[in-house]
């Protein structure tokens, strides 16, 4: 029993006297997002190195770290991937990697600093500690203002001890890395196929050239089907090709790897869609609907909708006239527009004539299958063509209004004025032909009579006509047509 105590005491003394190796830390230059996305702050990095060293860690020399960054072409700090972390562990003989980001740094108006740090164990690329600390001079303001920090240097004295206060003094043991397939890249094309089309899957593993001969046996699994991957002639990718299944739907591709040791791994690497039918399209035109036909005079809203939505590769809209000439052609390789507006102009920029047109909308899905929908539309932008005939003589005149053609009227009105500006007659209505009579009893014989006629059709096409002198044109009782003006300003 005494011997046992003696051995235990010797072992305890040895454990106490043999120095424990301090963990080696590689402090990477700090990413400074206050400067730019890829900014670097060497001043704060030096401060941090000193603070970390004070805590008993062994530091990797800064020039060795810089050489590592250059060798691996690391352009952006603060976000190394697992392979680079492990490489840093190997090449820099570092147990831990300390990477950080300067989130805020300002001298004025009030000094402020904030820093986020991550301590990563290089053995398994696990983040074992992280902390973010922020400090502003306003945080340290005392009631009397005595000894308040005036610059960043004053803040550093408080800031760094706070930042690193709970940084672990030793390396926690690695918990064992979870198995993962070390895939560098996957190219699975195409994403949308028709039944029977060939699907190609190319996989590249990390450091593949160095592992030729020791590569795992890889199989792409799609449902119950299995397709082994083989090295391509260039030796850059492991490739498998297979025909897409006949049944439409989305197919998930899984990669199964069997290593020479018998270890197996699986990972989802992508998916593709088998599509065997063109997308169903509906076309809706927004205009004035009369007897089941769409009319418009200013703008036509074209709304295409997919009854069973799916990604669209491109679309095209055509407007075709009665002579089968395409007056508008527009399209794009992008998603379906929610709505389009046709303002009656041709692709050349001129206004299309009144007439009947066919709007055709055509789409192509990702597999190249196309479908189209069309609707008829009538374009009317010419104002109502109204004629005014004057009948009668002496003190009684009758004005007869009629329209030659065009859309049904929404309204019309006509005013007749005496030479002194007094309103002699206001006639109005919604239909033509129409007539109304004028009693000129109180007027001097031969005095000019002015008139204004306004009319609009149901699409909104509007016309204003000015009559300079009704009497002079009606002097002859034959009811000849009056001279009209196109513009009028009703100002008296």
């Amino acid at each position: 029993m005494n011997r046992l105590y003696l051995i235990a005491s010797v072992l305890f003394l040895l454990a106490v006297t043999v120095p424990v190796r301090a963990a080696t830390v590689a402090v990477l230059p700090l990413l400074d997002v206050t400067v730019s996305r890829n900014g670097v702050n060497y001043t704060l990095t030096d401060h941090l190195r000193q603070e970390v060293q004070k805590r008993g860690f062994t530091l990797v020399a800064a020039d060795r770290i810089m050489a590592f960054l250059v060798r691996h072409r690391i352009r952006t700090l603060g976000r190394l991937d697992s392979h680079l972390v492990e490489a840093a562990g190997r090449e820099l003989q570092a147990d831990l990697l300390l990477q950080g980001t300067v989130c805020q740094l300002q001298e004025r108006p009030a000094p402020a600093i904030s820093l986020s740090l991550e301590l990563i164990r290089t053995a398994d690329a696990a983040t074992v500690w992280a902390n973010t600390e922020a400090l502003s001079a306003s945080d340290l303001t005392s009631l009397l203002g005595l000894g308040d920090p005036e610059n960043l240097g004053d803040l550093y004295r408080v800031f760094f001890p706070r930042l690193l206060a709970d940084m672990p003094a030793s390396v926690p043991p690695a918990a064992g890395k979870s198995p993962e397939l070390d895939i560098d890249s996957v190219v699975l094309l195409p994403r949308h196929v028709r039944p029977g089309d060939q699907v190609s899957c190319r996989v590249r593993l990390r450091d593949m050239e160095e592992r030729i001969g020791k590569l795992p046996h890889l199989v792409a699994r799609v449902g119950d089907r299995r397709f082994p991957l083989a090295l391509d002639p260039e030796g850059y990718y492991l490739v498998a090709r297979w025909p897409a299944a006949g049944r439409p739907g989305e197919y998930t591709v899984r990669l199964a790897a069997r290593w020479p040791s018998g270890r197996t791994e699986k990972a989802v690497i992508g998916s593709y869609v088998v599509d065997d039918h063109a997308p169903a399209l509906q076309l809706h035109l927004v205009g004035r609907e009369i007897d089941g036909r769409v009319f418009f005079n200013d703008r036509l809203i074209i709304i295409p909708t997919l009854t069973d939505p799916e990604p669209v590769a491109r679309w095209e809209v055509l407007v075709i006239n009665r002579d089968d000439e395409v007056v508008v052609r527009q399209g794009a390789a992008q998603r379906l527009p929610r709505r389009l507006t046709w303002r009656g102009q041709t692709t050349l920029g001129t206004l299309a004539p009144d007439g009947e047109y066919t709007v055709v909308f055509r789409i192509w899905d990702q597999t190249g299958l196309s479908s189209s929908a069309s609707r008829e539309v009538s374009f009317r932008h010419t104002p109502p063509d109204i004629t005014a005939d004057l009948v009668g003589k002496g003190k009684r005149l009758t004005v007869k209004l009629d329209r030659n053609s065009g859309m049904p009227l929404a309204y019309w009105w006509m005013k007749v004025f005496a030479p002194d500006g007094a309103l002699l007659k206001l006639a109005q209505g919604v239909r033509l032909p129409a007539d109304f009579s004028l009693d000129l009893g109180g007027q001097k014989e031969g005095a000019p009579l002015q008139g204004l006629l306004v009319a609009a059709d149901i699409l909104g096409n509007r016309i204003e006509k000015k009559f300079k002198d009704l009497r002079s044109t009606s002097g002859e009782s034959k009811g000849g047509k009056v001279e009209m003006e196109k513009e009028w300003l009703e100002e008296f």
Binding site: R79, A110, A130, S138, S271
Partner: protein
């Protein structure tokens, strides 16, 4: 007298409500997976605010809060960005469900945490800087890519002010840290399963 007492009671209640703690708001769309929430990937956040590099700052803060909570293994940001590159996803875009499923399968991820910054600001105030942050954080299933939880949180640095200037948060990073801490605490309180030690 009775009426006066009632008025005072209402005023006192309003006063208490005004001083009440504003916790983040959690919306559940589905339950978290019973197991496997330990390994977490933090997706690059979508920045809809105008604070320079706001997403990068909040992302770092959130990562440090998740790690320092001691409950989660957080996947390296570089590994996520590697897969973004492979899947041709822009870092400022949110991956779709299929892409999340692929990333989750490749890295063995239990949960994804992503989100949006709606507003992030730090402006000069009369006495101290004025800070404000509005964010939405989302939790997705690592196996299916499905959205599980959404958390909305909006605070200002002055929200934490107690007496005089004490308690007030004067840096946007400090505010982000405090809010991220509150969100992580809420998640853990609502049943997010930590790693078994």
């Amino acid at each position: 007298m009775d009426r006066l007492c009632r008025v005072w009671a209402v005023l006192f209640f309003l006063l208490l409500a005004g001083c009440g703690r504003h916790v983040p708001t959690l919306y559940r769309f589905a339950d978290l997976p019973a197991r496997g929430t330990c390994r977490i990937a933090l997706l690059p956040l979508v920045d809809k605010g105008d604070y320079p590099r706001g997403a990068a700052i909040l992302s770092k803060v959130l990562l440090s809060e998740l790690v320092s909570s001691g409950h989660f293994q957080v996947v390296q940001e570089g590994d996520i960005l590697d897969l973004y590159r492979q899947l041709l996803i822009y870092p400022d875009r949110q991956p779709n469900q299929e892409q999340l499923r692929i990333i989750g399968g490749r890295l063995g991820i239990g949960l994804f945490i992503g989100g949006d910054i709606l507003e992030m600001r730090q402006v000069k105030g009369a006495i101290a800087p004025q800070t404000g942050l509005t964010m939405i954080l989302r939790i997705y299933d690592g196996a299916t890519g499905r959205l599980l939880w959404t958390t909305y949180h909006r605070r200002q640095g002055s929200s934490y002010q107690e007496v005089l200037h004490f308690g007030r948060i004067n840096t946007i990073t400090g505010l982000a840290r405090r809010m991220a801490h509150e969100v992580v605490e809420l998640w853990l309180g609502e049943g997010m399963e930590p790693c078994t030690r």
